[in-house]
Symmetry: C2
Subunit: 219 residues, 2 copies
Amino acid sequence: MTLRHAILGLLSKWDATGYDIKKEFDDFMSIFWHSHLSQIYPELNKLEAEELVTSRLVPQEGKPDRKVYSITNGGIDEITSWVGAPPDIPKIKDSFLMQVFFMDNISADDVIFQLKYYQGVRQKRLDEMKQTVQEAWESIVERQIMTPRLLMSSAVLRRGLEQEVQYIRWCEETIALVEACKSLWDTDTSPDSVLPFNDAKELMENYYNATLALENDEA
Amino acid sequence: MTLRHAILGLLSKWDATGYDIKKEFDDFMSIFWHSHLSQIYPELNKLEAEELVTSRLVPQEGKPDRKVYSITNGGIDEITSWVGAPPDIPKIKDSFLMQVFFMDNISADDVIFQLKYYQGVRQKRLDEMKQTVQEAWESIVERQIMTPRLLMSSAVLRRGLEQEVQYIRWCEETIALVEACKSLWDTDTSPDSVLPFNDAKELMENYYNATLALENDEA
DNA sequence: TCTATCATGTAAAGGGTTACATGATTCC
DNA sequence: GGAATCATGTAACCCTTTACATGATAGA
């Protein structure tokens, strides 16, 4: 039940059509949400039936009419109370991390290939976000204004950026780790095999110590 | 269609019942996946119908029979090819970040309250993971073995930990930012109001410069 | 006594994705 | 000539969540 809040939140800032909302989802809001037009249009109808939004038709030349939605007082109450409500406990689904978890089933070279590929995917996302950050900052400087709205957007944007940067860094580290431990795959590929611990001992000791020390690092 | 791969991946390591699989989802695998028993049981039946797994009943005293599943060669082919297949593009849903995005609708104090609460939620997750890391390392040291399986688990565990550490750090930073910019909310709460840029100028300049410099930091 | 754990499921409702349907304009 | 953009939607399917259903044992 969060799509309705994504829509109401947007409409609390500007009037918009379903099509406009989808563009916003694909642009800035892709940091934390996504949806399809075929889900947005029916949801807008439901919200109108519940009188949380109203709509008016704006005719255009050579294009279909725009159905422009506005939020009602009821809609503002709904979004405000949701924003102040206890957040859901995080339910993470990261299918790439799951692939990695099962990558002992494929060769070390294939593991490295997958990690490099995914690193590239994340880098693309990062590059897009960096452009958004640049534009956001330039617009703030140009207009010489600061508002709670811009502040919260900035914080969210930063979180999105950090997430990409850190995922990319983890890919790099993991590639290095697998590269250094290739012998674990090469010498014996049967699932029951175990290798002398010494081959990877120091490396893994460092890795685990670094992992356990993560919390105490300064940013 | 990833639940089937979560299940097949697990069964490629050990035989298990639906109930066992659920426990694994709630424990280690919660870093990247989750599911309900009411989804796992029907999925296991489907996998058996497709001959990717087989099952046998193991009677118990005073408890219901265990229906223990094993993976077939077909199942191993399926999981292996999925692990080596191009990863999905990441589709992120983070409803808390969405709440934050719309928090200009509530007071600065309420924003800080929400951020502190969520920080606590993430801290709890982190504490659990830290225990898992500790146990994983102790078991590796004790058994004196290293395998691709343990290596990939370690990498995933580290990613999970990093994610929590960094989300918590972002919460702290964002709390400090809102605290420093409280005046943006206090002086005028109407959505059309804009405040003199100077109030937050230097702070935001630093914030944006830090955000843009993120990629170049060394871990 | 009540709650948690073990262990299996079904049914209904809700949320999300893909495919289908239409049709003009603009850009390559 | 073909692809992309603007703009609206419906239908079918798939995936996920919540509620219902059973029943024994162990521990607080």
